[in-house]
């Protein structure tokens, strides 16, 4: 079947739907948990941007590398990270994917190529470039993807990465999620020109796409990943999307000036990537509604199970707080 002329196999379309819904429902749960005071730390939710992570990660295997952002739950789940262990991590529990040492901003699973979310805006770009170097040396077609936001596009390290990755033809895909805000500043107030076109002078191919259209993301990523796997070098994708929730969950408690119109948020909600995709799937295949409802029910169960797992997990042992700074303990190092 075809969606938007994509000719993507039905299973692939359903898988993308499933992953987007998983991210959305997990984060809606986190939003409720945060409001209920259940989370020890801040969470930055990805609601409304799911199509970007899912459309890109659909092309990646566990052997490919990704680096992510402070808004990283979506990338973690899209790359195959375990929902229950992510939930336990954000709850600050021992069975969290990082044992409760990292929390929301540092969910990572190296066994799945997830180098991790990152609390530093732009912090993952250099890491992905290094992973791309390792992949190039391994010579086995692996690629590295750096997800970053429009805010990070104003960090100098992006220019450094474009320059070096282009020179060395690294298998790197730079995916900018332009969600309209650099924390609490509208992008237009802090960003000049086009982010996508920043690739041009470096000779790096770029695309500016509708980031709320998972098929458009899939297509752009398909070209970029193929190019990287074939040894032709890096690409930059700017996915235009929108952060329908705040920068951080409890921001209403400390924001003194509103920084956006509710009408703008509503307009973007009407372009919700999951609803749009579901509508398209239903239009193209009349029987699809039931299939999607089945996936929705599955995901609800997955989220419930993740919460149950996280709640049942004990708090980390405080005796471990000083541990594992180093791989190899040396004399006088640690107790």
């Amino acid at each position: 079947m075809a969606a938007g002329g994509s000719n993507l196999p039905r299973e692939e379309l359903l898988e993308m739907y499933r992953r987007m819904v998983l991210i959305r429902r997990m984060e809606e749960q986190l939003a409720r948990d945060c409001a209920a005071g259940k989370l020890p730390g801040p969470v930055h939710l990805y609601v409304g941007e799911e199509a970007v992570a899912v459309g890109v990660c659909q092309h990646l295997s566990e052997r490919d590398w990704i680096t992510s952002t402070h808004r990283g739950h979506g990338h973690f789940l899209a790359k195959g990270g375990d929902p229950a262990r992510m939930m336990a991590e954000i709850y600050g529990r021992a069975d969290g994917i990082c044992g409760g040492f990292g929390g929301s901003m540092h969910v990572a699973d190296f066994s799945k190529g997830i180098i991790g979310a990152n609390g530093i805006v732009g912090g993952g770009i250099a890491l992905a470039t290094g992973a791309a170097l390792a992949a190039q040396l391994d010579g086995d077609g692996r690629v590295a993807v750096a997800f970053f936001g429009d805010g990070a596009a104003n960090q100098g390290v992006l220019m450094e990465a474009l320059n070096l990755a282009s020179l060395w033809k690294l298998p790197l895909i730079l995916v900018c999620e332009n969600n309209g805000f650099s924390e609490f500043s509208p992008t237009a107030t802090v960003t000049s020109g086009s982010i996508a076109e920043r690739a041009r002078p470096f000779g790096v191919p770029f695309a500016e796409i509708d980031g709320n259209d998972v098929v458009a993301v899939w297509q752009a990523a398909n070209a970029a990943v193929r190019r990287a796997r074939e040894g032709q070098g890096p690409s930059l994708i700017e996915a235009r999307t929108y952060r329908t929730r705040g920068h951080v969950e409890y921001e209403v408690t400390f924001i003194t000036e509103p920084y956006r119109d509710e009408a703008e948020v509503e307009a973007w909600r009407a372009r919700d990537p999951i609803e749009r995709f579901a509508r398209r799937l239903r239009e193209e295949e009349p029987g699809m509604g039931e299939e999607l409802a089945r996936i929705d029910r599955e995901i609800e169960a997955t989220v419930l199970e993740a919460v149950r797992f996280a709640e049942a997990s004990p708090e980390p042992d405080p005796a471990r707080a000083r541990g594992h700074m180093f791989a190899a303990l040396a004399r006088g190092d640690e107790p």
Partner: protein, 327 residues
């Protein structure tokens, strides 16, 4: 044993380790031209895949080291001057030093960052900082400061084989200093101090570039019958406190020489540790010989005025020996 310069010893360590482990990749600014000589000949020997000149972009290369190490490589990243490490500091302080801990030990990060550190060559304030206290305070990186060519070779090999991020800081302007270097294969474990000279009157701890003037001072005082024990920590993270404490317990007196600005220098840290743990053994207050809290100036006469040297070390040693509890 053969007589070699420190930079030759480092060059041998890099060459031998890259021969030994094909997964090592080395990159940085002008590593092919090798202005210090430590990476000389490596590009020719190992080729452009494993030895790479990078653009001048420390923010990127310091982070690439983390990404490449996370993705399975053993990395040597040349940062050139210690002051340039500041430009790469996000990736060092926020990524290299924290990624293993934040992810519950999921990964190892075998990275050796190379840089020259410290002053003494009229390189002025932006090329002369001794950066080890800043790095030591990060918590997640090891910091190696060799005081001799033999140590430089053995410690660099250990740093490269180590599974954690290690800063290997070669004392600026000391690369040409000669010393006896063993001909056979050897590795010096990180975290083992060396007693460079035994003595019963006073413990003189000297870090990195300060080892040489400390030994000179000890030698000069020996002529007067003053026996100074010189201890070289060799690595400040991990720190071999036991060897230092044992020495202080023998001598009862401690002077620490550190080419770092006084505030939060490693000398200050060591003084605090010894005061906490061996107060009962001390017969005089601990003294520190450090750089005043100012920039490193350009003119030789100005630079000599701020860097610790034989005169200031000797003065501190004599004052400590002469100290008597006020009546």
């Amino acid at each position: 044993m053969s007589r070699k310069r420190m930079i030759q010893a480092m060059n041998e360590a890099l060459l031998e380790e890259m021969e030994r482990d094909p997964r090592i990749v080395l990159f940085g600014e002008d590593v092919k031209a090798s202005l210090f000589g430590d990476t000389k000949g490596l590009w020719k020997r190992f080729g452009p895949d494993r030895v790479r000149d990078t653009p001048i972009c420390e923010a990127l290369i310091s982070g690439m080291a983390v990404g490449a190490a996370a993705a399975g490589r053993r990395v040597v990243c040349h940062m050139m001057f210690g002051n340039f490490v500041y430009t790469g500091m996000d990736a060092i302080a926020n990524q290299a030093a924290k990624l293993r801990y934040m992810t519950n030990g999921q990964i190892k990060l075998p990275i050796t960052y190379l840089a020259v550190s410290g002053g003494g060559r009229s390189a002025a304030a932006q090329h002369s900082d001794a950066i080890h206290p800043v790095l030591a305070n990060l918590g997640g990186v090891k910091v190696v400061m060799p005081g001799s060519p033999a140590d430089a070779k053995g410690l660099l090999k250990a740093a490269i084989r180590d599974d954690d991020p290690v800063f290997f800081l070669q004392a600026a302007g000391r690369g040409g200093e000669p010393g006896e270097v063993p001909d056979e294969e050897y590795v010096i474990p990180l975290g083992q101090a060396a007693v460079r000279r035994a003595g019963r009157d006073l413990t003189l701890v000297a870090i990195g570039a300060m080892v040489r003037p400390a030994l000179k001072t000890a030698e000069a005082l020996a002529g007067e019958g003053i026996e100074v024990e010189v201890v070289d920590p060799r690595t400040v993270v991990p720190l071999d406190l036991e060897t230092i404490l044992a020495s202080v317990r023998r001598t009862g007196r401690l002077v620490v020489v550190d080419e770092a600005r006084d505030t939060c220098s490693v000398a200050s840290h060591l003084a605090a540790l010894v005061a906490e743990r061996a107060f009962d053994a001390l017969v005089a207050p601990i003294r520190r010989v450090t750089v005043p809290d100012c920039c490193i100036p350009y003119a030789p006469v100005l630079e000599r005025a701020v860097l610790p040297g034989v005169e200031r070390i000797e003065e501190a040693v004599r004052a400590t020996l002469a100290w008597r509890r006020p009546a």
